[in-house]
C-alpha cells in the first residue's frame, strides 16, 4: 500500500478498485440471497439459525457493522478538520496527523463493506418477511444508499491517495475531504430513515401500506437520530483516533515518535470531548421526540424495563468524564507553568466525583428485605432526592462545566496574559462561573417543586445557561490570552503510560456506551419489528434479560476492537 504516488491517475485507479470491491461484495450478497432462498425454499417469514439464533446473529453483525460505519464517518470529519487547521496554520504536524488517520479508514472500509454484505444476506435469509416489507417501502432509498456508498468509496480513495499529488493544491484536496464527509453524512441520514421508521413509523396506514413516502422518511425520531449520531460520530472518531495515538505512543521506540503520538492522542481526545459535551443535549432531544411519538414508549425507556440500563449508562458516562479529565490533569504535568493551576485539580475532581455519585444513584434501589424495612417507605429519604431527573440533569451540567474548566486550565498552563485588564478579565470569568453554577443549582432545586412539564422546560434553560457560560468564557479567554507570553514549553512525549491507557479506556468505554444506548433505542420496540405496524412473530419476540443483552453487546464490542486492532496493526506495519 502506498499513497506516495504523485500522478493523479493513481488515485482514480484506486477509486475504481474500491468501486469494483463494493460492487463485487454487493453482487456476491445478492447471489448468496438468491441461492440460499432457492435452496431453503420461499414463502416463510422467519428462518431460525441453529445454536447462535437469528436475532443474536443480526444483533452482532449489525452492531459491529454500525460501529465500523461510525468510525468510517467520524474519522473523515476529524481528518478534514485537522487538515484544514494545518493548512491555515501552516503547521505540517496537522497535515501528517490527518494523513495518518486517513490511513486507517481505507482498510476499515473494506471490513465494514464485507460485514454489510453479511448483514444484508442474514436479514433477507433469516427475516424474509420483515426485509421484504422494508424493501417494498424503501426501495428508492436503498438505491440511493448504494449510490451514496459508491460516492463515499470514490471520494475516500481519491482523498487518501491524492494526498501527495494535490500537495500544492491543498484547497482542492480539502474540498475532496468535504465531499467525502457530505457523502458520509448523507449515508447516516439515509440509514437513519429505516431505523427511525422501525421505532416511530409514519407515512403508512394501519395495514402498513405506504401512504406518503416523505412522512415515512420524516418520522419523529429521524432528525433527532441524525443529530445524535452525527455528534456521536465526531466524539467516537476522536476517541478511536486518540486510542490509536495512545497505542502508537506506547509502542514508539524513540522520543520524536513519542512526542508526535502524544500530540495525536491529545488532539483526538480534544475532538472527542468537543463531541461529547453537546451529546447529552442531543440525546435529550431524541428522548423528547420518542415521548412525543408515544408516551408509553418513553415510559418503557426511562422508567420501565430499561431503567437499569440507564444506571449502567450513568456509570459509563461518569467514567468517561473522569478519564477525560484525568488525562488532561496528567497532561498538565508536561507543561512548564502548569504548576500555577495544580491546586485547582483536587476541587475539580471533587465536583466530578460528587456529580458522578449523584448521577449513578438509582431512584429505585436494590435493597434486601431488612434494608427495605429500614427505609420505612418507598424511597430512601436522602438518596431518593438524588434519584430524580432534577438532580441528575444538574449533576450532568456540572460534569460538563468541570470538564470545560479542566480544559481551560490545560490551555492556559504555558501562557501568561499580557493585557492590562488581565486581573479584571479573570475576575469576570470567575463571576461568570459563580453566576452560572448558582443559576443551574437554583433551577435544579426548583425543579423538585414544579410539574414535570415545567421541569423539562427548565432543564432546557439549564442547557442555555451552560452554553452561554462556555461561549462567554471563551470570548473573554480569547481576548485575555491574545498575544499572551509563553511561560514555558510543552514537553510533548513526556507523559506517563497510564495517561495513554486512559485514552484507550475512553475509546473502549465510549464504544461500549454506544452499544448499550443503541440496544435501549432498539429494544423499546419490544415485540415489534416496526412499532405498532409489524409485530415480531419469531420465536425470539421477547426482550432478553439485561445480563444476556449486555453480554451480547460486550461480545460485539470485543469483535469490533479485535477488528480495529487489526487495522491499527496493519496501519503501523504499512508505515514501516
Amino acid at each position: 500500500m502506498t499513497s506516495e504516488g504523485s500522478a493523479l491517475g493513481y488515485p482514480f485507479l484506486k477509486a475504481l478498485k474500491g468501486v469494483v470491491k463494493i460492487l463485487a461484495i454487493l453482487a456476491i450478497s445478492y447471489l448468496a440471497i438468491y441461492l440460499l432462498n432457492a435452496l431453503l425454499g420461499d414463502g416463510v417469514d422467519y428462518r431460525n439459525l441453529p445454536i447462535l439464533g437469528s436475532r443474536n446473529l443480526i444483533w452482532l453483525v449489525a452492531q459491529v457493522h454500525l460501529l465500523l460505519g461510525a468510525f468510517l464517518l467520524g474519522v473523515p470529519m476529524f481528518a478534514v478538520t485537522v487538515e484544514l487547521i494545518g493548512w491555515k496554520k501552516g503547521d505540517g504536524r496537522f497535515d501528517r496527523l490527518a494523513h495518518d488517520f486517513t490511513r486507517l479508514f481505507t482498510l476499515t472500509g473494506t471490513i465494514a463493506a464485507i460485514l454489510g454484505g453479511i448483514l444484508l444476506v442474514s436479514l433477507f435469509i433469516l427475516y424474509p418477511g420483515f426485509s421484504g416489507y422494508m424493501r417494498s417501502i424503501y426501495s428508492p432509498t436503498w438505491h440511493l444508499y448504494i449510490g451514496l456508498v459508491l460516492g463515499e468509496v470514490i471520494s475516500m480513495y481519491l482523498y487518501y491517495y491524492s494526498w501527495k499529488a494535490l500537495e500544492g493544491r491543498k484547497g482542492m484536496h480539502i474540498l475532496l475531504g468535504i465531499i467525502l464527509n457530505l457523502f458520509g453524512i448523507a449515508i447516516v441520514f439515509v440509514t437513519d430513515i429505516w431505523v427511525a421508521f422501525m421505532m416511530t413509523p409514519g407515512g403508512v396506514d394501519e395495514k402498513g401500506n405506504l401512504v406518503s413516502m416523505w412522512d415515512a422518511i420524516n418520522t419523529y425520531a429521524w432528525m433527532p437520530l441524525n443529530i445524535h449520531r452525527l455528534i456521536a460520530n465526531v466524539a467516537f472518531g476522536g476517541s478511536i483516533a486518540a486510542a490509536y495515538g495512545a497505542y502508537r505512543f506506547l509502542s514508539a521506540g524513540d522520543d520524536e515518535r513519542r512526542a508526535y503520538y502524544d500530540w495525536m492522542g491529545y488532539i483526538g481526545n480534544f475532538i472527542a470531548m468537543v463531541g461529547l459535551i453537546p451529546l447529552p443535549f442531543a440525546g435529550y432531544l431524541l428522548a423528547m421526540e420518542i415521548y412525543a411519538f408515544n408516551e408509553q414508549m418513553g415510559i418503557s425507556m426511562m422508567g420501565g424495563t430499561f431503567s437499569w440500563l440507564w444506571f449502567m449508562q450513568a456509570v459509563i458516562i461518569g467514567a468517561i468524564f473522569l478519564a477525560a479529565n484525568y488525562y488532561l490533569w496528567t497532561a498538565m504535568e508536561k507543561i512548564e507553568g502548569a504548576e500555577r493551576y495544580r491546586g485547582y485539580r483536587k476541587y475539580l475532581l471533587l465536583v466530578i466525583v460528587v456529580c458522578y455519585g449523584v448521577w449513578l444513584t438509582p431512584h429505585s434501589l436494590v435493597a434486601t428485605v431488612e434494608e427495605a424495612r429500614a427505609l420505612g417507605g418507598a424511597f430512601h429519604p436522602v438518596l431518593g432526592v438524588f434519584g430524580v431527573m432534577a438532580a441528575k440533569i444538574t449533576a450532568v451540567f456540572f460534569l460538563i462545566m468541570a470538564t470545560f474548566l479542566s480544559f481551560m486550565l490545560y490551555r492556559r498552563s504555558d501562557k501568561r496574559p499580557t493585557v492590562s485588564w488581565a486581573g479584571k478579565g479573570n475576575l469576570l470569568q470567575v463571576l461568570l462561573l459563580i453566576l452560572s453554577a448558582g443559576a443551574i443549582i437554583f433551577l435544579g432545586v426548583y425543579g423538585y417543586f414544579v410539574p414535570a412539564a415545567v421541569r423539562i422546560r427548565m432543564s432546557m434553560a439549564q442547557v442555555v445557561i451552560v452554553f452561554i457560560f462556555m461561549v462567554l468564557f471563551l470570548i473573554i479567554e480569547y481576548f485575555l490570552y491574545r498575544n499572551a507570553e509563553a511561560v514555558g514549553r510543552i514537553r510533548w512525549g513526556d507523559m506517563p503510560g497510564r495517561s495513554q491507557y486512559a485514552l484507550i479506556f475512553l475509546a473502549i468505554t465510549f464504544t461500549w456506551l454506544m452499544g448499550l444506548m443503541g440496544y435501549i433505542r432498539s429494544g423499546i420496540r419490544k415485540f415489534w419489528h416496526i412499532y405498532g405496524v409489524m409485530p415480531d412473530r419469531s420465536p425470539q419476540a421477547y426482550l432478553p434479560a439485561h445480563g444476556v443483552s449486555t453480554f451480547i453487546i460486550s461480545i460485539a464490542i470485543l469483535i469490533f476492537f479485535l477488528l480495529i486492532s487489526l487495522v491499527f496493526w496493519m496501519a503501523r506495519e504499512g508505515r514501516h
Binding site: 415521548y291 412525543a292 408515544n294 408516551e295 408509553q296 415510559i299 418503557s300 422508567g303 420501565g304 424495563t305 431503567s307 437499569w308 456509570v315 461518569g318 473522569l322 484525568y326 490533569w329 496528567t330 504535568e333 485539580r345 483536587k346 475532581l349 466525583v353 458522578y356 455519585g357 449513578l360 444513584t361 438509582p362 431512584h363 429505585s364 434501589l365 436494590v366 435493597a367 434486601t368 428485605v369 431488612e370 434494608e371 427495605a372 424495612r373 429500614a374 427505609l375 420505612g376 417507605g377 418507598a378 424511597f379 430512601h380 429519604p381 436522602v382 438518596l383 431518593g384 434519584g387 430524580v388 432534577a390 423538585y448 417543586f449 410539574p451 414535570a452 412539564a453 506517563p496 497510564r498
Partner: protein, 265 residues
C-alpha cells in the same frame, strides 16, 4: 456499629500518613473515613443500602487512586510502601504475615459471598413499572396511553368531586397511605414494601393521572410481569370502587398534596 472500627482505623492511618507524609496512607485513611461517614449516617437517616454503598466506595477508591497518580512524583511515593513491602529485606517480617493474611482475607470474602444465607436476596424494585397498552376495567378495555381524568375538565363541579374524593380516601385509602398522605397509615407498618407516599416530588408528581388510574384500578395483582420481583398488597380497587369514584379520589390526592399530574406539554 462496626463503622466505629473503620473510623478509628482511618484516624490511625491518617496519623501514620501525616507522620510519614505518605500518599498511600493518606488515601487509605481518607477511604476509611469516607466509609465510616457513610455508615454513620445511619444514626440520623435510614442506612444506605449495600448496593449503593458499594458503588460509592468504588467511586471513592478510584477517585483517590486517580488523584494520587496525577503527578509522577506523588505516584512514586504512593507506590513506594507497596514496593518496599514486596522487595526490601527489612520488611520481611511484615511481608510474611501480609502474604498469609491477604489470601486468607480473600478466601473469607469468597466464603462469605457463597455460603447459604437465610435472608432472601436483594430485590431490584421497580417502583413505577411501565403500564400495559390497555387493561380491563370490569370487562371494559381501557387504553392507558393518553388516558385523562374526565372529571378534571368539569371545572364547575371540580370542588365537589374533590370533596367526594376526600370522603372516598378516608373510607378506603387512609389506613395505608396515611392521614398526611405520607404512606404511614395505621396498617402501613404491616407491609413490606411500605405503601407509597403521595407527598413529595417522586411519586404521583412524576406520573400522569392515567397511570395512577391504572395502578389504583388493578392494584398489586395487576402489576405487569416485568415489574417483578414485587410484593404489593394494594387491592384491586375496581372490584370495590366505580370508575368515577377512582377518578375522584385521584383528583383528591393531587389536590391535597399540592402536586400536579404529569403532562407532556
Amino acid at each position: 456499629m462496626w463503622w466505629i472500627g473503620a473510623l478509628l482505623l482511618s484516624l490511625v492511618v491518617a496519623v501514620v500518613a501525616a507522620l510519614r507524609r505518605s500518599p498511600l496512607f493518606t488515601a487509605i485513611g481518607l477511604f476509611f473515613l469516607f466509609f465510616s461517614f457513610l455508615r454513620s449516617l445511619s444514626l440520623i437517616i435510614p442506612p444506605i443500602p449495600a448496593f449503593v454503598l458499594r458503588w460509592y466506595l468504588l467511586l471513592a477508591g478510584v477517585a483517590l487512586l486517580l488523584y494520587f497518580s496525577i503527578r509522577e512524583e506523588t505516584f512514586e511515593r504512593f507506590k513506594a510502601p507497596l514496593i518496599a513491602l514486596l522487595v526490601e529485606r527489612e520488611m520481611r517480617f511484615l511481608r510474611v504475615p501480609v502474604f498469609l493474611l491477604f489470601p486468607l482475607a480473600m478466601a473469607y470474602m469468597a466464603y462469605a459471598y457463597t455460603k447459604p444465607a437465610l435472608s432472601p436476596p436483594a430485590e431490584s424494585r421497580t417502583i413505577h413499572p411501565e403500564p400495559p397498552v390497555e387493561f380491563s376495567f370490569r370487562g371494559k378495555r381501557i387504553k392507558v396511553l393518553g388516558l385523562e381524568n374526565p372529571l378534571r375538565k368539569d371545572r364547575a363541579n371540580l370542588a365537589r368531586y374533590i370533596a367526594e374524593g376526600k370522603e372516598i380516601y378516608y373510607r378506603n385509602c387512609v389506613f395505608c397511605h396515611g392521614d398526611l398522605w405520607d404512606g404511614k397509615g395505621i396498617f402501613a407498618h404491616g407491609f413490606n414494601p411500605a405503601p407509597l407516599p403521595f407527598r413529595g416530588t417522586d411519586t404521583i408528581a412524576q406520573l400522569p393521572e392515567g397511570y395512577v388510574f391504572w395502578r389504583v384500578s388493578t392494584g398489586g395483582p395487576g402489576l405487569p410481569p416485568n415489574a417483578t420481583p414485587w410484593s404489593s398488597a394494594m387491592p384491586v380497587w375496581q372490584d370495590m370502587l366505580s370508575e368515577k369514584e377512582i377518578w375522584k379520589v385521584i383528583l383528591y390526592i393531587y389536590d391535597a398534596t399540592g402536586n400536579k399530574p404529569r403532562t407532556w406539554e
